[in-house]
Symmetry: D2
């Protein structure tokens, strides 16, 4: 219960530190019968891999995943799936002088306050590399969802002041450009902005969004396990995320009921809505329209300009961070958000099979 | 696992429908030795009670709480605490004609899609009355926190376009005015705004904030049970909340690292920060400064002007809602937010006692 | 997490003390669509009600159950079901002088050691009345199972030296006789034995068994959530149970592999076994044959002869227990065992719907 | 939730198949500050390693454990501890012809019924090798317990008809002899018995016991998380265990209250008992005396004599098992029982820190 587990039926447990021998995840509760190979997972991991773009850290990790259990002759068996990625490019020497200094914007001080001991190399457990396990598990969740016809796609929606234009969307663009924006023009502009700030030894924040399409209505649970509550938790748990919005999000606070209510209608005999301010969820349960989640991500706390802080003894020190750090977190966080949303939605779909007695009867009779 | 439970050690399970005989909550895991009486809980429930202000529904429920278990001679025993509030002012007749019609902005359609059956009277389980159990449990959590010197205070920060002024804060004002705003001037302005919109058979949204003061550093768990992730889930699970922010929230997306990083310093020999953009949490763990959570709440979906929608058969219908509904949700939701934050923080404090071997040794030796 | 919750999807939380105002249970995760009324539950509660036989305590409680939520127009809605039974026959005066004395065989000392406070009236939370919530929830689980064609039947298999004869089984006998034995002759003999021991101010133990018939093969989960592991936990959690056996149970320790292995065969095209030493479970998963669970129950610790013990201050005292206590626990524990087995099996059936990708595809496509 | 997780605060998740690349465990919630190296774990694994005695399978695995995370400079950090053991001696060819045949006494048929697919090599996930993760995690739990002064020791108490003599106990004997019996004479006799049965291509069952000494009073939770209920689940979840007893176990069924009640007394100012029929637990909570757990283990189902069974198509076949199998399970299961008991007790100790408000106050003030 130290917090490294997520999910109810599709349950993942991640492990590993930035500069330990390896990182990984165990997925317990993956349904049997899914065709799965390492390449299915690798394509997701490659999206968060460092060194892939001019905006990302030059630390160059192969991040090759190994399937250690739960798959037999290329098919999942229902047994826990253990996935591992070995660390190969640790440069712990970068961190030696920082072991007693609390980096602003980082969790160093909090880990010391909590545990009294801290693996200071590369942030240890609080490193962005912790997300490798999430992304690997998310690749599997996404594959299952795609077999059900459900797509989960995340992308960068803004970096600093640069926003993507409404209505411009290309998945290929997201998967291939440095910013993970779906809009080539915004990508170019944002790239320039990031490079400029990086040159000033500064860093920038941004927003990312995830759209879940073809979701069946009726998924999610009332009260505390509302689908939006679980998505909020899933996305807020990604390091550097400081806000999560569903549908119109913060904008609802200045809307009126007449503006914000989405009228129901029918389309091809199916209930749907003429607008989607609610972001596909009402009362915590999917309404069958697209689910939209938005996250605000803070600027990379590791900046290369000198900063005032204290060390373990409480002495004031001026810190100049070395090491390898992205000037913007968003582009590589997009696949993490996609993974967390996929895991959350799949888990809700699995739980939902128990909602009605008739489902049980159909299943067992 | 149908979603009515929350918390790991301080675990609550709520139950009850708007128009059933009663609503309540069972709290399992409340530490033994707390002095507790019904009045401790009643003061919290009275803050969410309908009929208390010109902005709230005229449904007038006494909402008197009974302690059914877990307290002996005025002290908690460690056994589950069962709390119950009887419903006394149901007017189901208001809802009869709506049983087959899906109200826009409500969960009616989603419940039907999920369960195939729905208690349509007053929204059933998806009613705002569901929060009675949360508030009752939150009263207990708050009392424990206050014994630890930790305060949890929520308030309305905006209604429609009316925002509270920075630096104006009076807890008495929050607890006594119709809007639950800490700023008397904003309260008057917002009250006028709400009345005007209500007269137009419309409704309005707003924002609310919760501040947790005197929080020890080191509380919260890494990765998925980050304190901010759990707070996000707790607050997003409140009906009508569409966004949750921690600290600077959405504003971080346009900040730079130099602006957003909070420098560490020491004060009276204790590590603290000179600014608090992070909202008291770094890496999911409390840093010892004030925790700030913000929620955006949508306008009440039940408006009295006619709306286009469909019924169970998919026929288009024009719906005019009857019944008793607040034109703004926020003022009565504030105490719900406070309750959810208190429960979340207390639970994290309880879990945290297991973080170090030395704690175990101190405890058992 | 103080231990009053059980189950993963069909999740129950019980509450209440022997001499508090009421006891009850909240069931979260009951599938929607089950026809349910109070009488369905009452027939189970009446089986554990005191005062119903010459072997049971003269405390005469009506133990009438009320459904407070989760049922609408006679059908479950998927919302949590809250059930309550009011205490009406408390005689706390019986316990006043024992509040500082630790009764042998009871949990008094342990509760004091754990919580530092104890509701001493009638055992408080550790009273046999705690099982009211279990039995009420078990009635619902049993009703669902019966709709799936699965029966769960418990009975007394021995009291002191008196054992039921093999092959004699009448459910009517179990439900109507004082001992809950399926064998009328053994019932008479055991009744005499209990009366004799009661006359000597002594008490007796026994064994009870539960058979689950028409269980589908493939239910239960590997490793830690094995069906037999969960049944063991469910049954051992009943006060006074000191051993749980599956199938041949303790007898396997002196069998050889050739004797103990059950040969597989086919019957009407279905795989089955020619013997059932395993008690219907292999590797923690049901094999489609009858599941057999056996429990050993200690003699009632409350005996009326004087006993040596200590009080809170550690002084030696001689205790003579007053109050109303059965000379044998088994007959009224049988329905508790039946309830716990039903809940456990239903929960495993619900979880099992997620075992294969194909099930998900069939469900959502 | 597919069942490979155990524990509430000290939470383990095991993974791996008999003939996959590796097996392992992730421990989330291990307190920070424990000195830990691979050798601490290896000594436990060596006790269950095959090939170490004349009674065990000649499959010779090195079973060398690697710590992949959660330990920094030889000390646990509070981060999840990932442990891995690589499989090196797989001989899948032994199993090829059995892939469609259901071995009596094994879980083959049940896995097929549940998942529709099965890793048939060496039993896959249902292999005894699954316990490697349990033993590795148990080594850590045991080390923590020993720092608290609590010992957990398991041993073989009978094999077939051969029982250990009362009062003869040597831990060294347990750790060094082929049967893991604490009694050298019984060890010799049992060894002869096993060899004889093995020569007859048969196998034998037995019993094992675990004693937990120096346990503080007041640990364990009421109702469903009773310490005995959790121990029952923990031990019954070990493959081949068919019965779990606490204290006098099945014997209580023929005892009277006067015989079975343990009188309380005081010793050095501490409450204790003059006898221990209850096995150290009353009402699910430790009473400060030794905890005794007993398990009955069935004979190895893999015997080398021909057996009648069916294949996947339901055809009757005669099966003669090849491969490497112990003629008795107990001696290598003893360390697994010890591990499971250690994990269960440690977890209960961790949970117990939250029992009283005063504990929280002492901790945070």
């Amino acid at each position: 219960m130290a917090g490294s587990g997520f999910g109810r039926i599709f349950r993942i447990t991640t492990w590993g530190e930035s500069h330990g021998p390896a990182l990984g995840v165990v997925i317990d509760g993956c349904p049997a019968g899914l065709t799965l190979c390492e390449e299915d997972i690798q394509v997701f991991l490659d999206r968060r891999k460092p060194g892939a773009s001019p905006l990302s850290t030059p630390r160059s990790e192969a991040d090759k995943v190994k399937i250690l259990s739960g798959v037999f002759e290329g098919v999942t068996t229902g047994a826990p799936i253990s996935l591992m990625v070995e660390n190969t490019s640790q440069r712990s020497s970068d961190y030696g002088e920082m072991k007693d200094t609390y980096r602003p914007g980082h969790a160093d001080y909090c880990y010391d306050a909590k545990y009294g001991i801290r693996d200071y190399r590369g942030g240890g457990r609080s490193s962005g590399r912790e997300t490798i396990g999430r992304v690997a598990a998310g690749a599997i969740a996404s594959k299952i969802l795609s077999e059900l016809g459900i797509s989960v796609e995340a992308y960068t929606s803004s970096i600093g002041p640069v926003k993507i234009r409404e209505g411009i969307y290309s998945r290929e663009q997201v998967l291939s450009c440095p910013t993970a924006m779906p809009d080539a023009e915004a990508d170019r502009e944002a790239t320039e902005y990031v490079k400029k700030m990086a040159a000033e030894k500064n860093s920038v924040g941004g927003t990312m969004e995830c759209v879940i399409r073809h979701m069946p209505a009726g998924v999610g649970d009332p009260v505390f396990d509302k689908l939006d509550a679980l998505l909020a938790s899933a996305v807020m748990s990604i390091g550097a995320v400081k806000a999560v919005e569903i549908g119109d999000g913060t904008a609802v606070s200045t809307l009126t009921g007449r503006e914000n209510n989405d009228p129901f209608t029918t389309e091809n005999g199916k209930v749907t809505k003429t607008t989607n301010h609610s972001g596909g969820i009402l009362g915590g349960i999917s309404d069958g329209t697209d689910i939209l989640v938005r996250a605000s991500v803070k600027p990379t706390p590791s900046i290369f300009s000198p900063q005032e802080t204290v060390n373990k003894n409480g002495d004031s020190v001026t810190l100049t961070i070395a090491g390898r750090h992205d000037p913007v977190i968003i582009p590589r966080a997009v696949v993490v958000m996609e993974a967390m949303c996929a895991i959350t939605v799949l888990d809700a779909l699995l739980v939902n099979q128990s909602a009605r007695l008739q489902y049980l009867k159909d299943f067992y009779n």
